[in-house]
Amino acid sequence: MGGFFKSSVGRKVAMALSAFFLMFFLLQHFAINILSVLNPDLFNEVSHFMGTNPLIQFALQPVLIFGVVFHFIMGFVLEIKNKKARNVAYVKNNGAANSTWMSRNMIYSGVAILAFIVLHFIDFWFPEINTKFIKGDWSGTIEGVEGFRYYEELTHKFVSPIRVGAYVLAFVFLALHLLHGFTSAFQSMGATAGRKKTLQNIGKAYSILIPLGFIFIALYHHFNH
Amino acid sequence: MALDSKVPKGPIQDKWTDYKNHINLVNPANKRHIDIIVVGTGLAGGSAAATLAELGYNVKAFAYQDSPRRAHSIAAQGGINAAKNYQGDGDSTYRLFYDTVKGGDYRSREANVYRLAEVSTNIIDQCVAQGVPFARDYGGLLDNRSFGGVLVSRTFYAKGQTGQQLLLGAYSAMNRQIARGKIEMFNRHEMLDVVKVDGKARGIIARNLITGEIERHSAHAVVVATGGYGNVYFLSTNAMGSNVTAAWKIHKKGAYFANPCYTQIHPTCIPRSGDYQSKLTLMSESLRNDGRIWVPAKLEDAKAIREGKKKPTDLSEDERDYYLERRYPAFGNLVPRDVASRAAKERCDAGFGVNATGEAVYLDFADAIQRYGIEQAKIHNISNPSKEKIYDLGKAIVEAKYGNLFQMYEKIVDQNPYKTPMMIYPAVHYTMGGVWVDYNLMTTVPGLYCIGEANFSDHGANRLGASALMQGLADGYFVLPYTIGDYLADDIRTGKISTDTKEFEEAEKEVKDKIDFFISNKGSKSVDYFHKKLGKVMWDKCGMSRNEKGLKEAIKEIKEIREEFWKDVKVTGHANEMNPELEKAGRVADFLELGELFAKDALVREESAGGHFREEYQTEEGEAKRMKEFQFVSAWEYVGEPSEAKLHKEELVYENIEVKERSYK
């Protein structure tokens, strides 16, 4: 089994497994975030649960961090190996003749998403860690706000048009990444994704609707404040 | 030296089994001390190398391409015959033997052909075990089709790529032995001479085609499996690199060359389109199962079509001449290759050709599409189907059967064969002649063997469709590995053969001198110039029909071309690098000698048989006329000039088959 994950095929399987996990996480993240538009109170409740439940904080959160980090590092490792596999570049290469832009540029859409995640961590995750693990404040409240603080913090972040712009752009890259990544992950896992129209359609729907939904949330809060 | 075919005594059906029971064997421990060189790794060489290695011999295999998988066996499309009688249509070993001897126009060696038919069934078993994906029916069993010149369905096939799949099977068997270290593979190496020590073949001189280095390789026996010499015509369906060099070099070192004039001109090839043409493309003979061959019945229609004023689809049924169906009602479009080819040439020479060059006939699938369409409509219970519906249903069946061939045709000719008839014309395809071998497949040089298309033995004057693959694999998998043991049993104490001997030195020097000559010659004409010139003489005077005057001229002209070649050939580049021009020069030099022997052989053979058609010897209906006094193999001994080669005759005796006039009417 150890040998398996050292092989090129095994590494792609590992990439796909982490991708599945991240895609599931994304769906879950979206489901909670959309509550901020539909029902701010419920959003606060769920956020507090997610932010304080020990199982999620101490078990799932590290797994998530590992998943994200693994996906990125493995992505870079594979990219370096792939670049080395062609030591002399073509003078003329017509990649568009046989493959999509998305499939050829996963590393760039990936890097864009990585940049976004850094921003996102600075915005939300680091303050959360600071509040909970350094200050030891697990109450979910702050002064001057009635009830939980999460909704307030969320809407506050979407005041700046520059940040909203960055978010929108990042989600466009996410969509591009997913448009290839969704079916590619299935293919790496051995599914004949290229032949399965339903799977492809689900993939397209997921890849466009989820990022679009996140964009909607960002714009909604931006224009409603 | 008198020719001894070494055919064992006894009833024909027991010869091979009895023989195997009595020949010498080499014990497994001793096989480890014996080296065998196999030159050429197509179906025959590849299968031989694999089996010899598996038996325990140390094999060194040589191929001029970058992999054994590239050998031209890969281009065989149609299928492989075997007397399995899976279809229960009355096939048997005897019937396959009979068809092959008859198809070869009674010019092959009976015992060899019987053995071929006998082991044919093993080949299929073997290949299936190897994972060759033959076509199957819905019950999961192997499917068969029928092929030209026979009345049973005994041809196994893998789409239109049977040769490819069989070669890849042999290649995979080789790979297994390469991985085990039992075969040492020399890709991109070309054999340039054989080395004889004390009269026995003990090694070869080869050129590394990447570095240009000349190498000596020794062995206890040498097997030459380098295919046919069809490229002597310049244009043929052979691969660009296919050559006679190995066979010709061993001929010059004492191996007799048999029946060079027996050349197969295949009837269904894509016609030539211009002078730049570098090779011809074959369309599988299986197309004749469903296609109907015709030319316009009236000269003015043929002329109008050539000038583009009429289209073939404009001609009504009675304006067409289905000449094969007319001349040969029993076999119709399925007559053997030589008959079909000559009939096409006859029509085109008479002015009925249908493309710009006047050298093409139609192969029409409209009837087949119609027939299959009606059949399918019935199967699918469609009542009163429209014309379009019938066409679509029929087209689907034709597409399933021949789709890849139709696509290939369309890519080359830029016409849609589903809508308009294909154009075809005969082209040089296979050479039945080759190095003379005895029953053991050994040449007249001890320890030197020749297998596959490179030898002469099984197909006589004409080869039946789907028999080349059968012969290549039979020789390589099932015959040579046994018979070679009989010879090598005497070599178990010989020990390693040294390459530091004067014989190797001399052979190497000869090879190097020739290369140096080419590189330093200040000529003005390219190698291709001479090759094309030779090809034209061969096609015009030693082609589908030959006559005394033409052959005499050919001998003279080829000699002149050869003299000019040695004076004026220009080879660019250097000896110690990859140099395709130099490779070609060496090959064309040998073709220029073979061509002359070819013409001489055709001149001496005063009869018509199979692929050899002498205009002076034909029946009143224009069919080939065999002569009783020419019932022999012409085995030529090299004595200097090709045209002065010495003729040795191996009389052909038919004890198990009655020699009759071949009739396909």
Binding site: V9, A85, V91, R195 | S67, G131, D137, Q165, S273, K570
Partner: protein, 247 residues
């Protein structure tokens, strides 16, 4: 038609190569691409220059020897063809055509447009066979019925000609389509089951050792493959390796 050719010239494997411009005139649209190259070479021999070395043999699209990267695509702009089957009618008078060798670290250039594909050989030697003795008697060919569907699918995988267009095309120089096709052919047949696990593991290990890249499922290989080998074979390779790993 008249054309400008930009061709990669490289004396030998250690030399530094470069693109060189050539002109050819009076090219017929019915010529094959390699016949056009013949015209160029005849011209070069005439002027005493070194002709362009390129691999070719059968010139009917089955041996897998020809291997040119033409105008940025393996085997040129047409689909379902090898370089030798590409015809000049795909080009227009006055065109400039860029011709490069197949590029991959595992396919080093030998000379000009000729590359060394023995990495493919070593992958095949690692397990691209069924371990059955060719000299012995085996059971009757019809002893094991094989479903037509499986046999046909195995045949489709087996039509690979080993030209390397998949590697040349892949942005990662991955050999997965080539290896997938061979693994699939045997995986689909009962004869191949016995040593399926060892086969796929050994072939993939050799593929990695040769320095081919990873498959990122762009699908370019399938489109450029002259024989239309399906991407499904890569999926099957993935499944086979997973199966072997948990075995």
């Amino acid at each position: 038609m008249n054309l400008t050719l930009k061709i990669w010239r490289q004396k030998d494997s250690s030399a530094k190569g470069q693109m060189v411009d050539y002109k050819v005139t009076d090219i017929s649209e019915h010529m094959s691409f390699l016949e056009m190259m013949d015209v160029l070479n005849e011209q070069l021999v005439g002027s005493g220059d070194d002709p362009v070395a390129f691999d070719h043999d059968c010139r009917e699209g089955i041996c897998g020897m020809c291997s040119m990267y033409i105008n940025g695509e393996a085997h040129g702009p047409d689909r379902g063809v090898t370089t030798c089957q590409l015809h000049m009618r795909m080009f227009k008078d006055g065109d400039t055509i860029t011709i490069e060798p197949f590029r991959a670290a595992a396919f080093p250039v030998i000379k000009d447009l000729v590359v060394d594909r023995t990495s493919f050989e070593r992958i095949q030697q690692a397990g691209g066979y069924i371990s059955v003795n060719t000299s012995g008697n085996t059971q009757d060919a019809n002893a094991i019925p094989i479903s037509k569907h499986d046999a046909d699918e195995a045949m489709d995988a087996a039509t690979c000609i080993g030209c390397g267009a998949c590697v040349a095309t892949c942005k990662n120089s991955s050999a997965m389509l080539f290896v997938g096709a061979k693994v699939s052919q045997y995986a689909l047949l009962p004869q191949g089951q016995v040593e399926a696990a060892d086969r796929v593991q050994n072939m993939v290990a050799q593929m990695d050792l040769e320095g081919f890249g990873n498959c990122t499922n762009t699908g370019a290989c399938e489109i450029e493959c002259p024989k239309g080998i399906s991407l499904d074979n890569i999926a099957r390779l993935n499944r086979e390796l997973m199966k072997a790993a948990v075995k």
